[in-house]
Symmetry: C2
Subunit: 144 residues, 2 copies
DNA sequence: CAGAAATAGTTGCACTTGTAACTAAATCTA
DNA sequence: TAGATTTAGTTACAAGTGCAACTATTTCTG
């Protein structure tokens, strides 16, 4: 019987393979040069955009679950890249912010991240990048 | 300092989030209904297309490393879904093939996989799906 | 306002995954 | 052709990840 399904043309497979290839490149750089994994990097990126976030808001912003956020935050606090302040509105929660060291690290990484993005996606035109972004958002929404 | 890098618009992030959302849906189905993880599923899919492959060829065809292939193959052999024959051309290697049970399982899963793909990607037009496939292949090539 | 239910975040434990070292066989080289 | 090098695949151990259970606090309900 001939297969109806060709792995090579199966979109979930193509998506996974492309994502893994990109992640491998990026996480390699972050880990080697800065000792960060992707979860830690995402937290730093969000806190650089808007500091003083609760873990729950970071879950939302990074699309990671609360365990991943909790562990990444603990590692960053341990390295004094992030500090904890208590949340006067809710004693179960707290606020996380970048320290000066954390911001300095971000200022080092961010340009490198943009360069890497340009390396990987610069082969697409501006319109193609916009289209890819749009298609990925729609697929993501359909998967939830 | 205002951020130059907005995580929300960072393509490696968008790609990873979309891929994770799709993989979560798919792997949930395979595991619950058939007890397969994604690596095992990929091996079955390739062996259904063209049986009698060596592990090295399966690495190439599935884009997985040799450890992942070795472990997935061991699990499938254990469940009698795959058999091993020796390779007369190279004593270090061997051939893997689907058993009748393996093919029967494939025949059950394949239609379901196509249905799931249609659920997730059916929100895109045919042209958009083709464009997504093309863009993903180009990005993947750039990342290697 | 007391007790029940829900929520925020963390931790323990089992399972998965990745890196490095290993075995066995083939190939290269002098 | 003996010895060194490379290659195919597996295994052992460490690190990462996810689920379930847990603590502490808040919110709901009668």
């Amino acid at each position: 019987m001939a297969s109806l399904l060709i792995l090579e043309r199966f979109l979930p497979y193509r998506l996974s393979v492309a994502s893994n290839a990109v992640s491998a490149r990026i996480s390699g750089t972050y880990r080697k040069r800065f000792g960060l994994n992707i979860a830690e990097w995402r937290l730093i990126a969000i806190l650089a955009e808007s500091s003083r976030q609760t873990p729950a808001l970071l879950c939302e912003a990074t699309q990671m679950d609360k365990i991943a956020v909790s562990r990444a935050a603990a590692a960053l606090v341990e390295r004094s890249l992030v500090t904890i302040d208590n949340n006067p509105f809710d004693g179960r929660s707290h606020f996380l912010s970048l320290t000066n060291d954390g911001r300095a690290l971000y200022n080092e990484i961010a340009p490198l991240a943009l360069t890497t993005e340009a390396d990987l996606f610069g082969i697409l035109t501006r319109e193609e990048r916009a289209k890819l972004d749009e298609l990925l958002r729609r697929v993501e929404a359909a998967a939830k």
